[in-house]
Amino acid sequence: MKLIESLQIANARQEGPLFRVLLACGFTPLHLQTAVKAHLRLGLPTRSIEVRTGVYGDLGGTLENATEPLDAALVVLEWGDLDPRLSWRSPGKVSGEVISDARVRLNRIEKAVAILAERTIVAVSLPTLPMAPVLHTRSGELQSVEAALLEMLYGLAASTRAVVLHPKTFRQGSEHDLRSEMMNGFPYSFSHADALAAGLVRFVLPPAPKKGLITDLDQTLWGGILGDDGQEGISWDLDHKTGFHGVYQQLLNVLADAGILLGVASKNDAGLVYNALARPDLVVEPRHLFPIEAHWRPKPESVERILEAWNVGPDSVVFVDDNPLELAQVKAAFPAMECLEFHKDDPGFLLELRDRFGKREIREEDKLRVASLRNGQVVRQAVDNATLDSLLAGAEATVIFRWGKQPPDPRALELINKTNQFNLNGVRYTQAEWNAYLSDRATHLVVVEYEDRFGKLGKIAALAGRERGEGFELDVWVMSCRAFSRRIEHQCVKLLLGRWESLQLMYERTERNAPMMDFLADAAPGCREIRRASFNRWCPQLFHKTESINA
């Protein structure tokens, strides 16, 4: 983006609830403030953006004084924040004491960042500009003082709860505008300020990561054509110059461990495929691949069945194939799906593929996802073969309700912000909004865990609301689609009506919450209220063992 475009976007009239951001830096924020506001406005078109800044030359103080409510904080470090002697505006003689002085300053910043990160999302960028020429060594040599300072900065990155931008992202050689730094105290070229702002805002408003990857097999998961070369003729190793496929398989393991769903769509003989996937030297763990669609029917049919098994939309899935025709067919059938041609021997392909699924934290539920989907299929098949009552009666299910909001379970906000189908109203929350909501004394939060003889689903639902006299106003109710068909939703209502006489539902119809509407159509005609007496008359038999735990 150019400066003039950035100004036009940042200065245009804005409406909507306020989104407050602190931009903390030790230099004059000038065009960085404009660029941050412009990128936030592009990402949050329905909000009014306010970007606050601090005091020149006092990054630690700016962070410590940030006690007002914030939706996000962006912390931009430069060498002068560690010690002014390292800056281009006021360079000074550097001796060993600069390390201890810098440690004191950085500790102060680190402590303030830690406090801020407890109540809002914080994104930090480490110094992106070269240090002033205050050291006697040549540019190519990593001098011991600089190495010690870098060690401190990387120590902060390793221990902080804040998101830290990788400094390698910004090494292009055109970052520094020394003339501007000398004249105005603003050290960046606008292109660098824009890139930095975009990077920081991306961490504050991360794009929703993709949920699943559907892969082809021949010339993709492995080198060679299974039907022609046989199961021993396909390869993914250095000896056969097909090592790139082995790296791809390892990436699939990494994604699966992070809870990404992996499916296979291959035009192949099913028997051959199952034998090939049983090879002991396969890098990708076969248990990660579900479902496997191996047959000769068109790929879009396979993709459709995989989406159905996963119960996710095409916009949440990436399809990878080496055949442009297959890619075009799938794209035509599912325009919202991202279809990528497999690029052999291109490291950028794998890195960019990984980034589409990137997530900061891996939770217990991520590890359970594939197993619970497989089990879900077992449950559905069992339902087809028996009545739901007889199935649930023998499921040995346990539902655990965990009450408590101090500290709030981060899984609750994750569920709220990614669940579409069984969602009371589709309302999303930022971390700061969620913290503010929970800070109301009348608010209650309950996170629901489930396990039965088919397997553990983990934390699959969250409910939150406010006590209103004899009743409970339910603002938030989300449940993972993996938990459907087990009457967990009924058990949730029963639990709440055990405490309160009635539930007032803050229900709103969304494009995708039909499962919630279907449930409420029976439980709460009009979708506004459920009363204890009427629920008890309507509720089907529940077989779960329940446990209610107060945190």
Binding site: L3, I4, L7, H31, M183
Partner: protein, 78 residues
């Protein structure tokens, strides 16, 4: 686009509430919003738009739309 139109675009990016007529008459003394940050922002957007670079002492003299217009005309040879 003429220099004047391009310069008006720069001014309106910094002062979005000004009409073209207002911009033509804009100066530090007539416009409360025109502070030192606005001067630096204007100078940077004019530099970007016209591919020129101000000297530090030249920026200090840029105190009206007309002074910017005159400077741009001199530097771009128009």
């Amino acid at each position: 686009m003429h220099n004047e139109q391009r310069l008006i675009r720069c001014f309106q990016a910094v002062f979005p509430d000004l009409t073209e007529t207002d911009v033509a008459r804009a100066s530090v003394s007539r416009l409360a919003a025109w502070d030192s940050v606005a001067t630096v922002t204007l100078a940077a957007s004019v530099e970007e738009e016209f591919g020129i670079q101000f000297e530090a002492d030249e920026i200090e003299k840029m105190n009206s739309f007309q002074s910017f217009l005159k400077y741009v005309a001199t530097r771009s040879g128009a």
